[in-house]
């Protein structure tokens, strides 16, 4: 008998939008404004979430927020154990990170290894004033001492489950669901 795959929807487009609006407000509140701030999204889906968060902050504060995108492949810690080298994509940081407040954005926070790689990469670009982490979903199971400053939704999961984030720009719709095998 084939294995049954069950998909449970946990966030729809509206919930995601509300979560991002709240995150944008929390960012502005915590930093007392948006001065000298920049947002960096982690490829692939973090890139689009970063653009949305940045434009929400722009709406609240009326200032321009530069947006960068980052591919962390070259900073991975498993690069020499994988069978196939992952495709390297473009990193574009079109601003100076020195002395800026950097908001790092990704879709799912899981083991924390991607964030570790992203932190190392940002610091190779210069010394920011601080780096804060915003994620749409925190699904637990950290393998490193890393936590998010802004979380759209905490979703407790089993390690065997998958969290599938869909983003309009890539997948045609906004949704978060858990896939159980």
């Amino acid at each position: 008998m084939p294995k049954k795959i069950k998909t449970v929807l946990v966030m729809d487009a509206k919930t995601i939008e509300r979560a991002l609006i709240r995150i944008a407000h929390e960012i502005v509140e915590k930093n007392k404004g948006a001065e000298n701030m920049a947002v960096i999204g982690i490829k692939n889906r973090g890139e689009y979430l970063a653009q949305r968060v940045a434009s929400l902050i722009e709406k609240i504060e009326g200032v321009q927020i530069p947006v960068g995108l980052m591919d962390i492949t070259l900073y991975r810690d498993d690069i020499q154990t994988k069978l196939e080298q992952p495709l390297v994509q473009k990193t574009e940081i079109p601003f100076d990170v020195r002395d800026r407040v950097i908001i790092l954005v990704d879709d799912v926070l899981f083991t924390g290894r991607t964030i570790r790689a992203a932190l190392d990469q940002i610091i190779d670009f210069g010394r920011p004033r601080c780096i804060q982490l915003a994620v749409l979903v925190d699904r637990g199971h950290r393998e490193l001492p890393i936590r998010a400053d802004y979380v759209g939704k905490n979703i407790p999961t089993a390690k065997s489950e998958r969290v599938k984030v869909k983003i309009k720009e890539v997948d045609g719709e906004d949704s978060v669901s858990i896939v159980k095998h």
């Binding site: 591919d71 070259l74 900073y75 991975r76 690069i79 020499q80 154990t81 994988k82 069978l83 196939e84 080298q85 495709l87 390297v88 994509q89 473009k90 990193t91 574009e92 190392d120 990469q121 190779d124 670009f125 210069g126």
Partner: protein, 310 residues
């Protein structure tokens, strides 16, 4: 998508998809060269030996920089200052080096086939940095990258390779690379420097440079290898310059938005005039910059996990 071999011996037999993967991978690596800190930790713990049996400036420095920018450990070996002088054979030399635990070997040798020979006696990944008159794959890859960067395509362009085709490994790799990617390739040179039956590689052959340049987009001017000219292939360098040298006058035959390439080192005033080499259509220095990105891409794609099969 991955490369089928853990070695890079030549572009002969490589598929269009494999070449495209290398070119696509080189693009993000080029951006790293513009960063404030031009180094990424990707190949930490990987040891690369540069085994240079022939003199080289560009290729050697380019490989060393590419390796260092990926955080690999780099050992550079040159034949003139080693036990090769005491008569140690190539096989003994490399097996001794490998016994010290290394992962990759970049090799330049005056004999064709040495990189292949090394794959037979070592477990490391072997990268060909030029072997005899056989192939120089990373040079052709950086040529392809430079051309794709300018025209956003390779298919359909007419590429003319002018000069000493017979002794040029760059010519062979370029012919394989550009034809695989769908460009129209023509070669041109004195009969003595054109290999017999070269047209069987699927290319045009010209003996008259003006005829060859007609309607071309890219001209790759090869170096006249002065060290090989004692064999009487040319009556004189002056005659070569008159008949095949690329000067401003000859550029009129090319298509608009044409490009001049040269793999270096240049013999100014022999195969190319200084005005052409330094002209706005010359991408000679872009080629050198792109060389580092291409070599980083090759090192990255060939390193990594176990379980890769030939």
């Amino acid at each position: 998508m991955k490369l089928r071999s853990k070695h890079l011996l030549g572009l002969e037999g490589m598929t269009k998809e494999e070449i495209t993967l290398i070119l696509d991978t080189a693009e993000p690596f080029k951006e790293i060269l513009e960063r404030p800190i031009r180094i990424v930790p990707t190949l930490r713990g990987v040891t690369v030996v540069n085994l240079f049996y022939e003199p080289s400036t560009r290729t050697r420095i380019s490989f060393e920089l590419a390796e260092k920018r990926l955080s690999a450990e780099v050992i550079s070996f040159s034949a003139t200052t080693s036990s090769v002088k005491k008569g140690e054979t190539l096989k003994d030399t490399v097996r001794n080096i490998e016994a010290m635990k290394i992962d990759m070997v970049v090799v330049r040798h005056q004999c064709s086939g040495v990189p292949y020979f090394l794959t037979q006696c070592l477990d490391s990944s072997i990268i060909n940095a030029g072997d005899g008159a056989h192939e120089h794959p990373t040079q052709a890859l950086l040529d392809l990258f430079t051309i794709r960067e300018k025209y956003k395509k390779i298919r359909g362009l007419k590429v003319v390779i002018v000069g000493d085709i017979k002794y040029s490994r760059v010519a062979r790799s370029d012919i394989w690379g550009f034809t695989t990617m769908g460009a129209k390739v023509a070669v041109c040179g004195p009969t003595t420097l054109l290999p017999y039956e070269i047209e069987k590689m699927g290319i045009e052959v010209h003996h008259d440079v003006d005829e060859a340049l007609e309607g071309a987009d890219v001209v790759n001017v090869l170096r006249i290898q002065l060290e090989r000219q004692k064999g009487g292939f040319l009556p004189s360098l002056r005659e070569y310059t008159n008949k095949f040298g690329i000067n401003v006058d000859r550029l009129k035959r090319l298509n608009e938005n044409f490009t001049i390439m040269h793999p270096g080192p240049i013999n100014r005033g022999v195969e190319i005039t200084p005005e052409v080499a330094d002209g706005p259509y010359s991408v000679i220095l872009n080629q050198v910059t792109n060389g580092v990105a291409i070599r980083m891409a090759v090192l990255y794609l060939l390193s990594g996990g176990e379980g890769k099969v030939e």
